[in-house]
């Protein structure tokens, strides 16, 4: 009796585990198909990326498949790369061996992207990345990897320069997670800010398992007058840091002097979650919802119609990844090699996050994908139009 009830309990469990373990495919039977492999974090602390990436990708594929592009339709298979090197490598190998994509998109987290790159290069499949900032992704250059987003050097120099020149900041404390991207972004900011004449009062790194940031906020509060606090971390920890800094009376949101500077990593809705603590927070986003370009207005309208919610920058850059691939197919891309060549030749693609033109290292050189926003007292955004 007990055996039977135990089995009865295990059955749905096994089913659920199976459902989660098996990758999802958005596709159909057709002769001319461009196969896109999606490597995104579906589990773990970065999984909020994957959920939003999937929405953007599926919207783009749905729109493209209504009439096709150059006679091609698009099929996507997602694998969980978990924002971490080992699962990312395994997911990439699985994708290459089983799905055999013509092109891959992802990952979001730099450490995972760096792990995927050699797998894709060996299989000679182009990898289009939109969310990783580590300079190592495109330096010294990998013929099979392309990046839409400005890298950490481009972002770091831009943020540090704007902090020094536009915010008149002279002192900074840098907070970052101890990952390739976190350390790299913090380093570039510190180097640029120092060169301009600013002073870094502290560089504080932390693991992804840190939950309570009161001790870090206490340390920052004890340092004295800090003008800006650039922060490089994922949403969950970012939220806790902002609230802790406000509680410690460090940032404007807590009645303090410091302005927190944030990155592209944080999604929309961050301010609503952080509450008043986010007041005065200046951060860059990859997608400006107030942008009046037709491509942006159409994207927002279609996204709201499909998901009944406002799109985030993660939705937007995932959508752009697929639309850029479609643009390459429109220009004659039909397999991995021709898609790679088409991506490399991209000079004037205009997506919802901004424009794309790749340099010799396959890094997008356009900075109009970076939009500065300031959080207002009602937690809305004010576009600062610095780029």
């Amino acid at each position: 009796m007990m055996k039977r009830s135990f089995r009865a309990f295990l059955m749905p469990t096994a089913l659920m585990a199976g459902l989660l373990a098996v990758s999802t495919t958005t596709g159909f039977a057709a002769d001319k198909v461009i196969k896109i492999g999606g490597l995104f974090p579906i589990s773990g602390p970065g999984s909020y990326f994957g959920v939003q990436d999937k929405q953007g990708v599926e919207l783009a594929v749905e729109q493209l498949n209504k009439s096709g592009v150059n006679g091609y339709k698009f099929e996507v298979q997602f694998e969980d790369s978990a924002c971490s090197p080992l699962p990312a490598t395994q997911a990439a190998k699985r994708l290459v061996e089983q799905f055999k994509p013509d092109v891959a998109i992802g990952e979001e987290c730099s450490d995972a992207t760096l792990a995927i790159m050699p797998v894709m290069a060996q299989a000679q499949i182009p990898l289009l990345n939109a969310g990783s900032s580590s300079i190592k992704v495109t330096e010294p250059g990998n013929p099979w990897t392309f990046r839409i987003m400005p890298n950490e050097v481009m972002q770091g120099i831009d943020i540090a320069t704007n902090a020094y020149k536009r915010l008149n900041a002279r002192t900074a404390v840098v907070l970052h997670e101890n990952t390739n991207a976190g350390i790299g972004n913090a380093k570039v900011f510190a180097e640029t800010f120092t060169k301009l004449g600013g002073k870094i009062l502290a560089d504080i790194g932390f693991g992804r398992d840190v939950n309570d940031f009161t001790s870090i906020a206490t340390r920052v509060a004890g340092i004295g007058k800090v003008d800006v606090i650039p922060t490089y971390t994922l949403e969950g920890q970012g939220l806790k840091i902002t609230q802790a800094l406000a509680q410690a009376g460090v940032v404007k949101g807590g009645g303090g002097h410091s302005i927190q500077l944030g990155t592209i990593w944080l999604p929309f809705g961050f301010e609503k979650k952080a509450g008043k603590a986010a007041l005065g927070y200046v951060r860059i986003v990859q997608f400006d919802p107030t942008d009046q370009r037709e491509v942006v207005r159409n994207f927002i309208k279609a996204f709201k119609a499909k998901y009944n919610q406002d799109p985030t920058h993660i939705n937007a850059h995932a959508y752009d990844q697929v639309m850029l691939i479609a643009d390459v197919v429109r220009r004659g891309g039909k397999d991995a090699k021709s898609i790679r060549d088409g991506l490399a030749a991209t000079k004037d693609f205009s997506g919802v996050t901004g424009s794309v033109a790749f340099d010799k290292t396959n890094q997008n050189t356009k900075m109009d994908t970076v939009h500065y926003m300031e959080t207002m007292p009602d937690l809305s955004w004010k576009a600062l139009k610095w780029n």
Partner: protein
């Protein structure tokens, strides 16, 4: 500087109190069953989510959220013990229930992922952003609540263990299950009770941790490794040792952040763990096995 040192002391005690609450459940189960419950972290997460939803449903009644989290934890502990752990223990293989706790952990995490999604929840209680500033120090009402609730819970648990018949029965089973059975105590009932108390504690600690944690379906796993370390440093199932070790780890975290680097926290904590195992393998409070719990 004195203010900063005092402030970090308060921060350490708050975090340490939370660790103690999480670790106490592990200690109880280890003390009675000599078994590690890997699903404990997920009971904490479930407690946090239960408190989150109840607090929001009842327009900010956080105490109702804590109470419901306690009940949810207890009921879940009872359910899992009755349906999975107890039948496996009856087979006489100690490894089976241990592996089952890993399976339950993965199942709960993924079930929460499906139901609740991966995007972090912002669990703000009416007390989490209410900051009190005094003589250069600051603390939220939430952090004070954590210390008070932890102290009360530890006090009640201590009184239960020392002065009630059930508490004594629980200690008897932890000392010698067979002899306790011969004395008229039903060991299976006591084990069930242990699971219920430990899981209820996990649920409640989740309710208190929720506003502190990055609340996702994986929230509990971020504290459970430290909780295991605390159980070992404290003395493998020793309640008093667990309390002392939890507070020490909390203070180590705060002062490491202040004077060294937060990136070194895990190195310092686990160096202490290794040092304890090397120099004092029985833990901080070296009691005889039969005096545990």
């Amino acid at each position: 500087m004195l203010t900063v040192i005092l402030q970090q002391g308060i921060n350490g005690i708050v975090v340490g109190s939370l660790y103690v609450l999480v670790a106490l459940g592990l200690t109880l189960i280890y003390g009675v069953l000599v078994q590690i419950n890997f699903a404990h972290a997920d009971f904490v997460t479930l407690g946090a989510f239960a408190a989150y939803f109840i607090t929001h449903l009842l327009s900010g009644n956080y105490f109702a959220g804590i109470a419901v989290a306690l009940v949810v934890g207890g009921v879940l502990g009872w359910l899992l013990n009755a349906t999975i752990f107890a039948p496996l223990r009856e087979r006489g293989n100690e490894l089976l229930p241990l592996i089952a706790t890993i399976g339950v952990s993965i199942m709960l995490q993924n079930a929460m992922l499906v139901l609740l999604g991966p995007i972090p929840y912002a669990f703000d209680t009416p007390y989490s952003n209410h900051v009190i500033r005094f003589a250069g120090l600051f603390f939220t009402v939430q952090s004070m609540l954590i210390i008070v609730m932890s102290t009360i819970t530890i006090g009640i648990l201590y009184a239960f263990m020392k002065f009630t018949f059930l508490g004594k029965a629980l200690r008897a089973v932890s000392q010698d299950r067979e002899t306790a059975g011969l004395m008229g105590i039903n060991p299976n009932y006591v084990i069930m009770l242990t699971f219920v108390i430990a899981s209820a504690l996990a649920g409640m600690s989740g309710a208190l941790l929720g506003p502190v944690l990055v609340l996702t379906p994986f929230a509990g796993t971020s504290v459970i490794v430290k909780a295991f370390a605390i159980v070992i440093i404290g003395g493998f199932g020793n309640v008093e040792g667990t309390i002392i070790a939890g507070l020490i780890v909390g203070l180590i975290e705060s002062y490491t952040t202040q004077f060294l680097d937060p990136g070194l926290i895990d190195i310092v904590v686990f160096a202490l763990l290794l040092l304890t195992l090397a120099l004092r393998p029985t833990g901080l409070i070296a009691e005889r096995r039969e005096e545990n719990v």
